[in-house]
């Protein structure tokens, strides 16, 4: 019951993604806006990444068509959670608001360093007190500029989890009230769970 309800609610976050390719006008407008905003770092980075991306595509040769975007129902017995919701980083706040409305509670927030893909993943675990329904929300960030909006104003418990994730991965939660080291020393400038961390 709850699973179907929350799946439908979270599906609304994907609506504009499906529409986007049909409306190139918006993309052009966005592309024009970008160079003004982040003029300096933009030109160098895409040149390298573009090359890498092309290589990767050539090797894999599109193994299978990507499934339609949306929350994925998982095999609970094998995986231990019910719903896997991969989102764009800026949609995470909206997802937390939807889950909060349905009285989910937050179990944990953590990161995963996908160094081969030059990405950092933020993983949010939600659960429900009344009915068994584990929802995993995840977002992938660019490893060189890992920023994601905070959800600590919705779930106060996220405050410490986000600080911990910042400690371990250097992920910046924009809008966080106090992103100081929590478990690491107060002057720590290293992030031990990054795969290229050397002690």
């Amino acid at each position: 019951m709850l699973l179907a309800k929350i799946k439908e609610a979270l599906s609304s976050l994907y609506e504009d993604i499906q529409e986007a390719p049909e409306e190139p006008a918006i993309e052009e407008a966005a592309a024009e806006a970008v160079p003004e905003a982040e003029a300096a770092p933009a030109p160098e980075a895409p040149a390298e990444e573009g090359g890498a991306a092309q290589d990767a595509e050539a090797e894999t040769e599109e193994p299978e068509p990507a499934p339609p975007p949306g929350p994925k129902e998982m095999d609970y017995k094998a995986k231990g959670f019910h719903l896997d919701v991969a989102l764009e980083p800026e949609k995470v706040v909206a997802a937390a608001e939807i889950l909060n409305r349905e009285n989910f509670f937050i179990e944990a927030i953590t990161g995963v360093d996908w160094i081969d893909e030059q990405q950092l993943e933020v993983v949010y675990d939600f659960n429900h007190f009344a009915e068994l329904c584990r929802v995993v929300v995840r977002a992938r960030l660019d490893r060189s500029n890992p920023e994601i909006p905070t959800i600590s104003h919705i779930y106060q418990g996220a405050n410490w989890h986000e600080r911990e994730t910042h400690d371990f991965f250097g992920i910046i939660f924009t809008g966080h009230p106090n992103l100081e080291p929590l478990l690491l020393p107060e002057d720590a400038d290293f992030h031990p769970l990054l795969k290229d961390f050397k002690a």
């Binding site: 231990g80 944990a108 953590t110 659960n127 106060q156 418990g157 410490w160 769970l193």
Partner: protein, 373 residues
């Protein structure tokens, strides 16, 4: 830091450091307090004094070599941590566990839960100024440690579970010893009740102190006795049944009040429920293997991520594994219950008297190595 350094100097508040070495924090926890006289304006726990980066250790050793680490986080209910970790790996690698082994896991975990609650009981009353109950509680706890030592080989930092089973079978001496212990503790509980629970001083120190509302518990992700003391009927053993728990008849104590007394009562009632589970498990204990027939030598879970939660003595302990198909974890996240439970302290302690805040802190049942990991 919020407001901590920028506080108005004209305001008549002062900063008080509680810890990192303070008997009431039961370990190296520091709380920065902004005080207005005896009242707390702001409380900010400072963590990390015994942070050991267990999650990184999980990545740089094989799945099996991480097992001893599980006993060194929540050192008062180490077997729950053993259970959470092996269950997560078993789920990921698809390892079957013989029924007898699951029974042994439940028996030892529940004994460990009783010993953890007994130690909390003694230490909590000690926080409030009552010394004697600690000695009684340690006397009882000692019996459990002896029983668990006979089967697991250690008294505190257990490493008893293996992938697919347990390390050692129990013998008749353990069974008779456990039954005798339960009989003994059942006789002692009315004494604790008369000596401590009904004591007017204890009631005055705990009743209506440190209220935690249902909504606050949810927003902070509080679980275990803290959530159940706030009227939330949530216990992983019932909510998300694992192991052989569905085969036992036991109650989940829930108190609506949300104050420190409610959290106290939840744990005291849970001791009886754990004894019921152990008794039933001993009655029904099936014969058979305690390890898989084919020894589990190399664990290589398929690529992907997996989650498994168990009910530890302090709440929901979750393990999130990310496997890349090799014999060690790509990422091992340990979700410890008191980390979330303590995170609400800042909000709950606001406006409280300092001695009352210490009663609240004691009622959260903190184990610092588990928070810092």
């Amino acid at each position: 830091m919020n407001g901590f350094l920028q506080q108005d100097l004209n305001q008549e508040t002062f900063t008080l450091n509680l810890g990192p070495q303070h008997p009431a924090t039961h370990g190296v926890l520091r709380v920065k307090l902004v005080m207005d006289g005896e009242y707390i304006v702001e409380a900010e726990p400072v963590l990390g004094y015994i942070h050991r980066m267990h999650e990184k250790m999980g990545e740089n050793r094989t799945w099996a070599k991480f097992l001893p680490n599980c006993g060194r986080m929540d050192y008062l209910s180490a077997l729950s941590y053993n259970h959470g970790y092996v269950a997560a790996v078993e789920r990921a690698a698809g390892i079957e566990v013989p029924e007898r082994a699951e029974y042994l896991r439940v028996i030892t975990v529940e004994l460990n839960r009783i010993s953890s609650h007994l130690l909390w009981f003694g230490a909590f009353v000690l926080d409030l100024g009552g010394f004697t109950p600690l000695l009684y509680a340690f006397d009882d706890r000692e019996q459990i440690l002896d029983l668990l030592e006979s089967v697991t080989g250690s008294r505190l930092t257990y490493c008893y579970f293996r992938f697919g089973g347990v390390y050692n079978d129990i013998d008749d001496a353990f069974i008779t010893g456990t039954r005798a212990f339960i009989k003994r503790l059942r006789k002692r509980m009315p004494m604790y009740d008369a000596l401590v629970t009904k004591n007017i001083i204890l009631i005055k120190r705990l009743k209506d102190i440190g209220p935690i509302s249902k909504d606050m518990a949810r927003r902070y992700g509080a679980t275990g006795p803290v959530a159940r003391g706030s009227g939330i009927n949530f216990d992983v053993r019932r909510h998300e049944p694992y192991s052989v728990y569905p085969e036992f008849d036991f109650d989940i104590p829930v108190y609506e009040e949300g104050d420190s007394m409610a959290r106290y009562m939840v744990r005291m009632d849970e001791i009886e429920q754990s004894m019921r589970i152990v008794e039933q498990a001993l009655d029904k204990l099936p014969e058979g293997e305690i390890k898989p027939k084919k020894a589990v030598k190399m664990v290589k879970p398929e690529k992907g991520d997996y989650y498994h939660a168990v009910e530890a003595a302090r709440g929901s302990f979750g393990v999130r594994l990310v496997s890349d198909g090799t014999n060690s974890a790509y990422r091992l996240k340990l979700r410890s219950p008191t980390y979330s439970n303590l995170s609400l302290f800042g909000e709950a302690a606001r406006g409280m008297l300092l001695p009352d805040a210490l009663a609240l802190m004691g009622s959260l049942d903190l184990v610092i190595p588990e928070i810092d990991r």
